[in-house]
Point group: C3
Chain length 330, copies 3
């Protein structure tokens, strides 16, 4: 466990320290639960009221808030408490699980695999033919990576994740647990006798940029042909579905349970709220925002905010909701 | 396969047997499909009509329903047929998969792990540093458990489940297959140059009480700092998302595909319907019910029932739906 | 990588070739991205405009569209471009990952297992007691299959998938990665003291027909008693939930994130759109279609199309949406 003096934290945050506190600080904690040895956060006046009765040793306080110093406790004034919290979390970040040996003896690694410098492969993982791992790639236990996949430097793959053949993954990515990359897209055609369904073979792959993060139990299907593509810096939450041949630009955000049907295009910086669904072949242009729970069935212009099902302009939808509420009461 | 005489079943259910049947009863079955050797259930008059033509050997019947005895078939009158069914299912429950050896030789268990009495660890599972397993914990094959996690007595972890570092799990819990516990919460801040996203490090953990059940492919993210908490007796269905720093009280129920964004608070006995989503920082007080498919964007008072998106009082929402239906026809 | 001459492709598609092209064709590609050596598709006039500036070597063209031949490029007229694409994808389909040895030495296979001819079991997979695998079954690495399960000929199970006890699976099925079959259904009753929940034991199983495909991270729960049943030819997308005792007829389609609560009945050829949810005990009769994002709370007649929440006739729902939009603007 890492720990710091209050002076070290003040210096780290480039803040202004008020009051003195000799306690060793070993963890951040919410103000309601904080005790001796904790650093807490006061970002608005709601939390300021709790300071007097808090047992926290030290608080990070927005400079616009006035709190009084107390005996044996300190606070640190900062311009941007959100940024200060982020910096502090990095300082307190525990070590990742440690590998005794880089390549665990129970890992099954095909002899044709290329391993970069400092690669680690955990217990009982499988790495198939012609896979190329860049430098310092970490594969945790019980991962399966199939043939001809390439993974860039510093990327981390957590347990239970499966990466199918021919996937291309950039550097500095994080794949959380039980992620599914590159399974067949979902497509069928009626059988000639009209009585059944014939599978449409999907021969494409998945291409993922740099600094992409994919949440637990999320799925990215491979293209029918060509590729399903996630641009640099995309951040995908848990239980998200990305259908075959969808293309995401840079730094898109998709929240939990959201989904793209096949061949959806997202521009750069698109934000998709939780549980929102996007119809196949729709384009959502750069900077657009889709509210949680929405169903998008038509293209969205750049920068626009939509919500509801069928999704429309957020302000218009609010008016519809107000009108419906009135109607229900009349 | 277990089997019972009709008299044994009557005694088990403390019911009143009408008619005689010498068949050995080896399984419960729905009345439409039941054959000789099956016990079936008649909880209401809809099913009573099927009794005459049923081949079931014996039926459990609600005492308020009148059916006639038939040659070679019996029925057992009970006060509470739902409870009788539950008791009968326990009696017929098959053995769980059997372990030839408690610790399979292919399991990778760090030398620092503490194993309670009667612990079982299946083939190809991984248990990391300083993990503490209580007595009679069962870990099925292909599970991954990371450093400093503790698991209480009698808890069962099914295959494909991954539990990240520092998770605390109570006793008598069941984690179904492909569950993901303790992955990073989903949080980013704009990069200083305004052109990207910087990951906010999540250093907290997940704390799970006693008798908690978590369904297949469900996810519980760890806290940003402090903990994501599930109280005793919570029952979580499949494909559920529980975001970082959410706190659930005792005996909450979340149905399939439902989700809590970050920092949601549920009181005790809250019921969340299937596919419902709860916005971040919302509080749902004890005993409240959220209907299936709802989107909750504001706090819900104790005991209240809400439905729809945005969710509102269930009766009010019904009126809105009726009004909208009329409007569509006018 | 497979490759073909233009003449070979023409012959394969039984089309009419216009123009000559000597290039070796190694992959299909969308017209926007296609280069020398690619075959592309022109199914409608929107894409026909891109042909002139495309670098594709050859295009498959719907016979009703007029495009002009160009130097060094060819096109192939076909009656049904969708079918032609499907045929072409099959021709270009890459080999599946190759097994050096049929049964990997790290696979853990109980001595009571019955293996058909040509079965393959990948690294670190687990196959429990009395499991019966038909001929040419392929189990990829890191799969777990529990006791008394039977799997028919030619079925393929991808990595991370877990199949619980007593499941019956037909032939020619595909289970994609991280699928969960046969976990306990979700059912509880109030504890006698009224203060908690008691688990209802689920002793049933899952029965899956022939030619069924189940997408990544999808779940099928086992029956309370008797079985959860998927008929022949059902196609299930990613992240789908199928609750205990649901029964699906032949060739039903369920798109991503859709879900059936317990004891839902689907007839034959039912189509459930993405993110749609079906209430427990509802019957949806053959040929009915449920639109994406719908919430179905009552039975649906054969052949009917419904949408919305609560779901109603699609045309009626459209009128409601139009009326609501007007109302919001008034």
């Amino acid at each position: 466990m890492k720990s710091f003096s209050v002076e070290e934290i003040t210096s780290l945050l480039k803040g202004e320290q008020i009051g003195l506190c000799k306690d060793i600080i070993y963890a951040p904690e919410q103000i309601e639960n904080a005790t001796k040895g904790n650093v807490t956060f006061i970002g608005n006046s709601k939390y300021a009221k709790l300071w007097e009765n808090s047992n926290a040793s030290v608080a990070i306080v927005y400079e616009g808030i006035t709190i009084l110093p107390e005996e044996g406790k300190a606070f640190i004034k900062v311009k941007n408490p959100d940024l200060a919290m982020a910096v502090l979390l990095e300082a307190f970040e525990p070590e990742s699980p440690y590998f005794e040996t880089d390549i665990h003896p129970t890992a099954v690694i095909d002899k044709t695999v290329t391993l970069g410098k400092g690669c680690k492969v955990g217990a009982n993982s499988y790495v198939g033919k012609n896979v190329v791992l860049g430098d310092n790639v970490t594969i945790y236990p019980n991962v399966s990576i199939f043939d001809d996949t390439t993974i860039g430097n510093e990327t981390v793959i957590w347990s239970g994740t499966v990466i199918r053949e021919r996937t291309k993954i950039g550097s500095h990515c994080i794949f959380h647990v039980n992620v599914s990359i590159g399974a067949d897209g979902f497509g069928y055609r009626p059988s000639p006798d009209g009585r059944g369904l014939v599978k449409i073979i999907h021969i494409g792959n998945v291409v993922i940029g740099n600094a992409v993060e994919i949440g637990a139990n999320s799925c990215v299907d491979r293209g029918k042909f060509s590729s399903t593509i996630l641009g640099d810096g995309c951040k995908i939450d848990n239980l998200v579905q990305i259908g075959h041949n969808s293309v995401l630009g840079r730094c898109c955000i998709m929240a939990g349970h959201s989904g793209l049907a096949g061949s959806v295009t997202l521009g750069d910086g698109v934000i998709i709220g939780g549980s929102a669904s996007i119809k196949d072949h729709v384009t959502i242009h750069s900077g657009a925002k889709v509210g949680a729970g929405s169903g998008v069935i038509a293209d969205i212009a750049a920068g626009k905010s939509v919500v509801g099902y069928p999704a429309c302009d957020s302000r218009e939808k609010m008016k519809q909701w107000v009108a419906l509420r009135k109607l229900g009461r009349s």
